[in-house]
C-alpha cells in the first residue's frame, strides 16, 4: 500500500513538473511532433499483437486495445 502511494505521488509530481515546464508549440513548429513515429498511440500494425497479449495475459487495457468483452477472452 505504501509502495503504491509512493509510486502514485511520484507520478503526480512528474506530471506536474512536466506540465509546468511545457512550452506552447505553434503549428509550424510541430514537424517533429507530427512525425508518424511520435504518435501517442499504438500503430495500426500492432493491432493483432494487442489482441493476443490480452488473450494470453491477465492484464488488459490502458492501451486503446481490448479491456474485456468482444471476444471469448479475458
Amino acid at each position: 500500500m505504501q509502495k503504491k502511494y509512493t509510486a502514485f505521488s511520484l507520478l503526480t509530481i512528474c506530471l506536474l513538473a512536466t506540465n509546468s515546464s511545457c512550452t506552447i508549440v505553434k503549428e509550424y513548429q510541430k514537424n517533429k511532433l507530427n512525425d508518424a513515429e511520435m504518435a501517442l498511440s499504438n500503430r495500426k500494425v500492432e493491432k493483432n499483437e494487442l489482441n493476443f497479449q490480452s488473450y494470453r495475459e491477465g492484464a488488459s487495457g490502458a492501451n486503446a486495445g481490448k479491456t474485456g468483452g468482444g471476444c471469448g477472452c479475458n
Binding site: A7, L11, L15, T18, N19, S21, C22, T23, I24, V25, Q29, K30, K32, L33, D35, A36, E37, M38, A39, L40, S41, R43, K44, V45, E46, K47, N48, E49, N51, F52, Q53, Y55, R56, E57, G58, A59, S60, G61, A62, N63, A64, T67, G68, G69, G70, C71, G72, N74
Partner: protein
C-alpha cells in the same frame, strides 16, 4: 470658383475611389471566406489493410485442465475505409467502416470432446462502424458500433468519446464503451448435463443443435490526457475503469481436483479492472526516437501486473525507419488459479487457465516503416509497415507474430 470646382472634382474622385475599394474589399472577403470554409461531401480518403500471422505453442491448455498442447495458429485480416467531409461552417465529418476476419486452429479444441474428436478450426467475423464530428476548435465527438461473431461467442458493442483541445497544448479525452456478449454453453463432453443435446465440436457448426447461451457484460470508462512538452517531446496518461458481470469463465475449460475428478471452470460473476498507462515519446537526435510505455494493472481477482516497453525508431532516410522493440510483462496469480490437480473440491471458484497464473514474459522484435513520396515502390500504397515479434512466457508458452499494414491515401 476654381477652388470650388477643384474641390467638387476632388470629392467626386474620392467618392469613386471609396466605392472601388468597397468592391475590392468585398471580393477579398468573399475569397477569404470561401477558402477557409469549403463544403465537401463525405468521400473515401483512406483505406487501411492489416494482416497478421500468429503461431504459438505451450503445454498448459485450459481445455485439458492446465496440461496439454497449446498449439495455435491464427490468420487475421482487417480493412478500414475512412470517409471524410466538411461543411461551410468549418465542421469536419468522418465515417469509418471496418471489417475483420480471423481464422484460427487450436489443437487443444479437439479435446472439448474427451476422445479428441472435436473440431480444431474456427472463424471470427467482426464488422464495425464509427462516426465523428470535429468543430473549428478541434473538439471531436465520436460514436461507434461493433459486432463480433464466432461459433461459440457473439458480441455487440457501442462506444462514444469526446476530445477537447486545451489552450496549454494539451488534449483531454473521455470515452465510454459497453459490450453485450453471449457465450454459448458448450461444455466438455463428459460434463454436459444429460438433457443437453450433444455437440461434437467447439469451433464449428454442430449439426443444427440448439445450444443455450449465457450473457457477459463489459463496461469501460476511459480518461486520457495528452500533453505536448516541447518541439521534440510529448506524453500521455490513460486511465481505464472496467466492470464486467455475467459468465466470465469459459464453459469448455476444465479444472482437475486433488482427487482426480474434473469440473467446468468456475469464476466469480463480477470483475473490476483498473489499468493506468503512460506514454512518453521524444526525439533523442534528429534521426532517433524513443517510444516508451508503462502500464500498472490491478483487478478484483487478485492480479497485479506491470508492463514496460521500449521502441527505438531509427530513421534511415526521412521516409524509411527501422524500429527494434522490447516489451516486458510481469503479473501475480489470480486468487482463483491453481495448476492441474491442485484445486480442492471445496473451493468456491477455480481455474487452471495459465493466463491467470503468476509469470513474466518478454516480447521482442523489429518493424519497418516506409512512407516515401509518390508511394511505396511507386504504387498506390502511401505507407507500409512490416513487423515481427517473438514472445516467451515463463509458463513455457512461446509465439511468433508477423504483421503487415498497408495504407492507401488520396
Amino acid at each position: 470658383m476654381k477652388k470650388i470646382c477643384l474641390t467638387v472634382i476632388g470629392l467626386y474622385i474620392l467618392l469613386l475611389n471609396a466605392y472601388s475599394q468597397n468592391q475590392k474589399d468585398s471580393l477579398k472577403l468573399s475569397v477569404k471566406d470561401s477558402a477557409v470554409y469549403i463544403s465537401k461531401p463525405l468521400q473515401l480518403e483512406e483505406i487501411n489493410l492489416v494482416s497478421s500471422y500468429y503461431n504459438q505453442n505451450g503445454h498448459h491448455s485450459a481445455i485439458t485442465g492446465g496440461i496439454g498442447t497449446e498449439l495455435v495458429t491464427d490468420i487475421s485480416n482487417g480493412i478500414d475505409l475512412n470517409f471524410k467531409g466538411a461543411d461551410e461552417e468549418g465542421y469536419k465529418y468522418g465515417l469509418t467502416a471496418g471489417l475483420g476476419i480471423d481464422y484460427h486452429t487450436a489443437a487443444s479444441s479437439a479435446y472439448v470432446s474427451k476422445t479428441g474428436a472435436s473440431s480444431t478450426g474456427g472463424t471470427r467475423i467482426y464488422p464495425s462502424i464509427s462516426y465523428s464530428e470535429e468543430d473549428k476548435n478541434g473538439t471531436v465527438k465520436e460514436i461507434g458500433l461493433y459486432y463480433s461473431a464466432e461459433f461459440n461467442y457473439h458480441s455487440f458493442g457501442i462506444d462514444g468519446s469526446y476530445l477537447k483541445k486545451l489552450s496549454n497544448g494539451g488534449e483531454l479525452t473521455t470515452k465510454f464503451s459497453t459490450y453485450f456478449d453471449k457465450v454459448k454453453l458448450i461444455y466438455p463432453s463428459e460434463l454436459r448435463p444429460q438433457t443437453a443435446i450433444v455437440v461434437s465440436s467447439a469451433s464449428s457448426g454442430g449439426g443444427g443443435s440448439s445450444i443455450p447461451s449465457s450473457p457477459r457484460y463489459t463496461y469501460t470508462g476511459t480518461l486520457s490526457y495528452a500533453q505536448t512538452i516541447n518541439q521534440k517531446m510529448q506524453a500521455s496518461i490513460t486511465l481505464d475503469a472496467v466492470g464486467q458481470n455475467g459468465l466470465l469463465s469459459l464453459p469448455f475449460h476444465r479444472v482437475y481436483f486433488t482427487d482426480g475428478t474434473d469440473n467446468v471452470e468456475t469464476l466469480p460473476s463480477f470483475r473490476f479492472k483498473l489499468p493506468v498507462g503512460l506514454r512518453f515519446n521524444f526525439f533523442v537526435t534528429d534521426n532517433v526516437i524513443l517510444r516508451t510505455y508503462y502500464r500498472f494493472y490491478t483487478d478484483t481477482w487478485g492480479i497485479t501486473a506491470h508492463t514496460a516497453s521500449l521502441e527505438i525508431p531509427v530513421k534511415i532516410t526521412p521516409f524509411l525507419s527501422v524500429s527494434p522493440f522490447y516489451r516486458y510483462y510481469i503479473q501475480t496469480a489470480s486468487t482463483y488459479f491453481a495448476p492441474y490437480e491442485v484445486h480442492s473440491k471445496q473451493d468456491s471458484y477455480y481455474t487452471s487457465n495459465y493466463a491467470y497464473s503468476a509469470f513474466n514474459s518478454s516480447y521482442f522484435g523489429a518493424g519497418i516503416h516506409s512512407a516515401p513520396p509518390g508511394g511505396v515502390w511507386k504504387t498506390a500504397i502511401t505507407t507500409m509497415d512490416i513487423r515481427y515479434g517473438h514472445y516467451t512466457q515463463t509458463t513455457g508458452l512461446n509465439s511468433n507474430t508477423i504483421s503487415v499494414s498497408l495504407q492507401f491515401k488520396q
